[in-house]
Every structure is written in structure tokens, then in C-alpha cells.
Amino acid sequence: MVTLAINILLWLVVGALAFFAAMRGRVLLNDGARDGAIEFFLLLPRIGIGVVGSGYIAEVLPNALIAPWLGPESGLLGVAIATLGGALTPGGPVVGFSIGAAALKSGAGAPQVIAYSTAWALYAIHRLVMWEVPMMPARIVWLRAAVSLPLPFIAAALAMLLGKP
């Protein structure tokens, strides 16, 4: 039900945006449709490899090791370990999401996985070094990194409060 509702909503948004683009000219409509389609086909292999791969990686991860450290019962320590792991994970979205999904499938708790992906999103070392440091004033980079410190913990806590989906 949720999936269908999200699909309908998304495609209504696509329709509305395409309509606005068409109002501003045929060229804009064609450009948007082409750019979006190209992006989609270029992303497909990467997402496909990650999604299928994370299933197999989850199978070979030692469940007995994951559950006590990152499982639902691991509590704050698990969240802290996940946060540290997320901040130290190098690489793009394929890496971060594959590892997160594999951990979830092999017994990690949902709040712990949320802490992992939040920390990874906020600190992903290679994005920080390759993009943020060269493009932003240093004081903003430090400020952003400093105020982001509590966020993975708060995200995990809020997720626990909201309860499992």
C-alpha cells in the first residue's frame, strides 16, 4: 500500500514538473526527460551490483559476531560502534548503502544501521576531503563537522522512539 502510494505521488510530481517545463518550451521538456533518463541508465548497474551484492555479503557475514555488537540489544554501545564505522567508511553511496544493507540483513538493529548511515552520510571521508574542503571556507567545514557530532546518536534515539516500521 505504502509502496503504491509513494509511486503514485512521485509520478504525480514528475507529471507536474514536466508540465511546468513544457509551459516554458518544448526544448526544456525534452532536455529534462533526456537528462533524467541518462542519469537513470548510468546509475542502474551501480545500484544493481550494490543491492544484489549486499544480499550475498550479508549471507557470509558472521551473524554470531554482528548480533552482539550491532544487534537490537547492543544499545548505545552498538550505536557508538556503528557511528564510528560509518564515519570511517570511505567511498561513494554504493559502498555506504551496501554495507548498511548487508549489516541489517545479517542481524544488526535498525537504530544501529540508521546511526551507521547517518554518520556515513555526514562524514564520508572521501567526500569531505575531495569536495567539501576544497569548495567551502575552512571555518564552515569545521563548524559543520563539529555540530554534526551528536546527530547520528540523536537519529538513532529518535528512530527508537518512533518504533520499528
Partner: protein
Amino acid sequence: MTEPAPPRRRRRAFDWSTAVIALLSFAAAAAVYLRDGREHFLAILVGDLTLFGEMLPKVLAGCLIGAFVTLLLPRELVARWVGHESGFAGLLIAVLFGFILPGGPITIYPVAGAFLAMGADAGAVVAFIVSWTLIGYTRALVWELPFFGSDFVLWRIVAAVPLPILAGILARIAVKAGFARAEGD
């Protein structure tokens, strides 16, 4: 003052991150095949391909929304808007644009830099970057959904909504307390 158009990233279908994951996946798949046999190997493949297939319409919608928003919403206008707002409303607008603006780091950080140039405060810029990072819809639709499914992603995003606002407020407090002050402040 005009902001130069952000450089377009040359998109590739493959990169080093993907190569590493592909290698790990291949090794793991081979191990599963040898350890658990063909049936279990196929069950995992079918299960994950089904999830992937169910998410494809959303991924395509996410790519199209991103492409149209990029064309319809000039970044300079956004920068001017955020730059001229202040107070709590300024934070909220920055968070909203972090959610709306599509693109990867190469397009987002120049926009954040333009906010500063247009007079936005550090709190709004921090809120914008954190918002794009944690609740940006393109990343959630295109990347996160195929891996985790709708329920998990919705749940994570609901829990993440207050975070960019909180980060912006913390940044303002830190700046007031003398941390990371711009020269000449």
C-alpha cells in the same frame, strides 16, 4: 553578482567504489554457492532482484524529478533567497532547499558557497548541507530505496527531519560563542 553555472559532473556507470563492492559481492556469492548450494544462491538472487525491480519506477521518478528541478529552479535564485532570509525562517528555508535541490557534492557545495556570498549566515549554510546530506530526496529515492525498501527509508527520514534544523541552531550558538568566527567579525 552572478554565480557561474555549476560544472557538470561527467557521469560514469562505473567507478572504484563500485569495483570494490562488485569484487566483494562476487567473492561472497561464490562462497554462498559453494557453502549452501545452488538453491540458496538462487533464492537470494531472486529475492534481491525482486526488491531492485520493485524500486526501479521510483528510481526513475527520482532521476526525472532531479533533472526537471535542476532545469526549472535556477540556483542563483535559490542562493539569493536563502542569503536574504535570516532568523528561524532562514534556517527553515535553507533546510527546505537542502531537501529540494538535486545533485551530488559537485553541485551542492558551490550552491552553499553562493549562499555565503549572498549574505547567509553560517547556521543556514550548515543547515542546508546537513539537510541535503540526510533528507535530500534524490539520494533517498535513487540510492537508499533499492537497498532498504520504502518502510525503512520513510522511517529513517522521519527520524532525520529535525536534525538539519538542530545542526543549524547549534552552528549559530557555536558562532555566537566565538567558535569559527569569520575574520573581521
